[in-house]
């Protein structure tokens, strides 16, 4: 008998390419860090405008959300137009707890928000393990709207105005916006969010290349076969939704902590769709893609605002170009910019 060498974990065709992608992302992140700290190296003071850093912080926050939805709409494969529920929940829990209870700090509120989101994702998970993917679009969308109306009509949550005056988070008693050795008030957020995005990227990578990841792939590709292989299909579907919700909630908490406001638009359909399109543009089931997608969707409208002023357009061209961009990507690269092609 000819002995064949088999390793259970062999590099796949796409993996070398994936490694290159990881390196590329690291380089980009390092470059961003360098730019943020450029001020430190220039004796004449500020060279990087704070506005630029603001855009980066928002991009990083949405990267977290995009990595979150990747677990559900990417690895499990069903479309969600309701992830704003979890984003909004994170934001509102942080808003409520940090403004109403002086004892609870920002970091604790993130954890509580995660727990809340996990609980709120249970009905979706329950539904998701019972119906086919396309129905989930309607279910998630409707679920999200329920929470928007709850937020609008609740006095405790501030109604349409939402909740303002959320304190910026503190680290070891120092406000994150006023860390003495950092040149601008955004740098603290940039560092922490980069760490979180990095951690999530690693976390996702490890999960996807484990038993759980293989099981999710089986569920995504063929439920009947997955059942026949002894995969608990329903449990994995639920797991994907809950994990996804919990991660998205972290993004919401940071959004509230960063902008100091939480309003009902955080439960809005627009935000849901934005989170979803970030993933689709970047590439479903691509970690670097999810991050890139978030940056594109955040940065492009900001750039266009500048262009609009420059050439004196009477309207904001973003939504036209946004639609156009989606059509073009779906036509020429339906797997997303960094996604892997599916035959």
């Amino acid at each position: 008998m000819k002995k064949i060498h088999i390793s259970l974990r062999k590099p796949q065709a796409g993996e070398l390419k994936a490694n290159r992608k990881v390196i590329a992302v690291c380089v980009v992140l390092a470059a961003m860090l360098f730019i943020c700290f450029l001020d430190d190296f220039t004796p004449s003071g500020r060279v990087i405008p704070n506005y630029f850093k603001y855009v980066i912080v928002v991009s990083l926050i949405y990267s977290v959300a995009s990595l979150g939805i990747n677990f559900y709409s990417g690895y499990q494969g069903d479309t969600s137009l309701g992830h704003a529920v979890f984003f909004g929940t994170g934001a509102y829990v942080t808003a409520y707890l940090t403004t109403q209870f002086s004892g609870i700090n920002f970091w604790a509120s993130i954890l509580i928000g995660m727990a809340f989101s996990a609980v709120l994702s249970l009905p979706v998970a329950w539904a998701g393990s019972r119906v086919k993917g396309s129905f989930m679009v309607v279910i998630t969308y409707g679920y999200c709207e329920i929470f928007r109306y709850l937020a609008i009509n609740s006095n405790t949550l501030g109604g349409t105005a939402g909740m303002a005056g959320i304190p910026s988070p503190k680290i070891f008693g120092v406000r994150i916006t006023k860390i003495p050795w950092l040149p601008s008030n955004k740098d603290g957020f940039i560092l922490i969010l980069m760490a979180i995005v990095g951690f999530l990227a690693l976390f996702t990578y490890r999960i996807v290349n484990s038993r759980v990841g293989y099981a999710l792939a089986a569920v995504r590709e063929d439920e009947i076969a997955a059942y026949a292989m002894g995969v608990n299909v329903k449990a994995y579907k639920r797991l994907a939704i809950i994990t996804s919700a919990v991660i998205t909630s972290v993004a919401g908490s940071f959004y509230a902590g960063f902008t100091n406001v939480a309003d009902p638009s955080l439960f809005g359909a627009t935000l849901s769709i934005t989170i979803f399109t970030m993933l689709v543009i970047g590439g479903r089931r691509s970690i670097s893609g999810a991050i890139l997608g978030a940056f594109i969707v955040v940065i492009c409208p900001e750039l266009l605002r500048y262009v609009q002023d420059l050439i004196g357009l009477p309207f904001d061209p973003w939504y036209i170009l946004y639609g156009l961009m989606l059509v073009i990507i779906m036509r020429f690269k339906p797997e997303g910019l960094l996604g892997t092609k599916e035959s």
Binding site: I4, Y214, A217, E221, A225, G230
Partner: protein
């Protein structure tokens, strides 16, 4: 020894009575074939044995344990695996990963590796193509893969649903040879087929299903010789 025992199983799809008082037994080491036309309830029976479709009344016992109170994935762990109709390989996953998914619930990595070697020995074709995406295999190769994948869970009993469907006659022969070989290596087999001739030829016993009811059961060679069966299913 009785491996699988189905007693008075009744299954409904809404108002449609799909399986009527179905009873069958499969003994250890046997190949049992279920034959019948389209819509006779063969696949329904397979799926309700695996508890993918709930049964209204009746019993399914696998090695004396009730399957109807267990989830599908637990039944797989008990040692009964289904090769679903239409193959259902994971199309965008490599052949080898498909096989490894077959060993999904097993944690004994070194044994899994050994089994993988054994499978490649049995299906050299799959070894040649182990890096290829399963969706790009031919129909026959996909059927081989689906069967091999089921073997990766080390089943004591294998349910095969229409393994010859849509395949060229020469491939069908190969598939049936494989089934016999798997059986000789100690796996009990319940086979559902429209290709009654070949299914009965390799089987020890056979059951004939018609519109959800069992109309006949006998030793396979007796069924092959039966005039009624010959006329209705064997085209002779």
């Amino acid at each position: 020894m009785e491996m699988l025992k189905v007693e008075n199983l009744n299954v409904y799809y809404g108002n449609i009575h799909a399986l009527k008082d179905m009873s069958l037994t499969v003994n250890e080491g046997e190949i049992v074939s279920l034959i019948g036309a389209n819509g006779a309830g063969k696949s329904t029976l397979m799926l309700s044995i695996m508890h993918q479709i709930p049964a209204k009344t009746g019993k399914v016992l696998f090695q004396g344990k009730d399957c109807l109170t267990q989830k599908t994935f637990d039944i797989v762990k008990e040692g009964m695996t289904l090769v679903p109709e239409g193959r259902h390989v994971f199309p965008r996953t490599s052949v080898q990963d498909n096989l490894l998914l077959g060993a999904y619930y097993r944690r004994d990595k070194s044994e899994v590796k050994k089994d993988l070697n054994r499978i490649y020995e049995m299906f050299p074709r799959l070894q040649e193509r182990r890096r290829q995406l399963a969706g790009t295999l031919s129909g026959g190769e996909q059927q081989m893969l689906a069967t091999a994948r089921a073997l990766m869970s080390r089943p004591k009993m294998l349910l095969l649903d229409e393994p010859s469907m849509g395949l060229a006659p020469i491939i069908v022969d190969q598939i049936f040879d494989t089934i016999v070989r798997i059986n000789k290596e100690g796996t009990t087999i319940l086979l559902v087929e429209q290709n009654a001739n070949q299914a009965l030829r390799i089987a020890d016993r056979g059951y004939v299903l018609e519109t959800g009811e069992k109309t006949m059961e006998d030793a396979a060679d007796k069924l092959l010789a039966n005039d009624q069966i010959r006329e209705a299913y064997l085209g002779a």
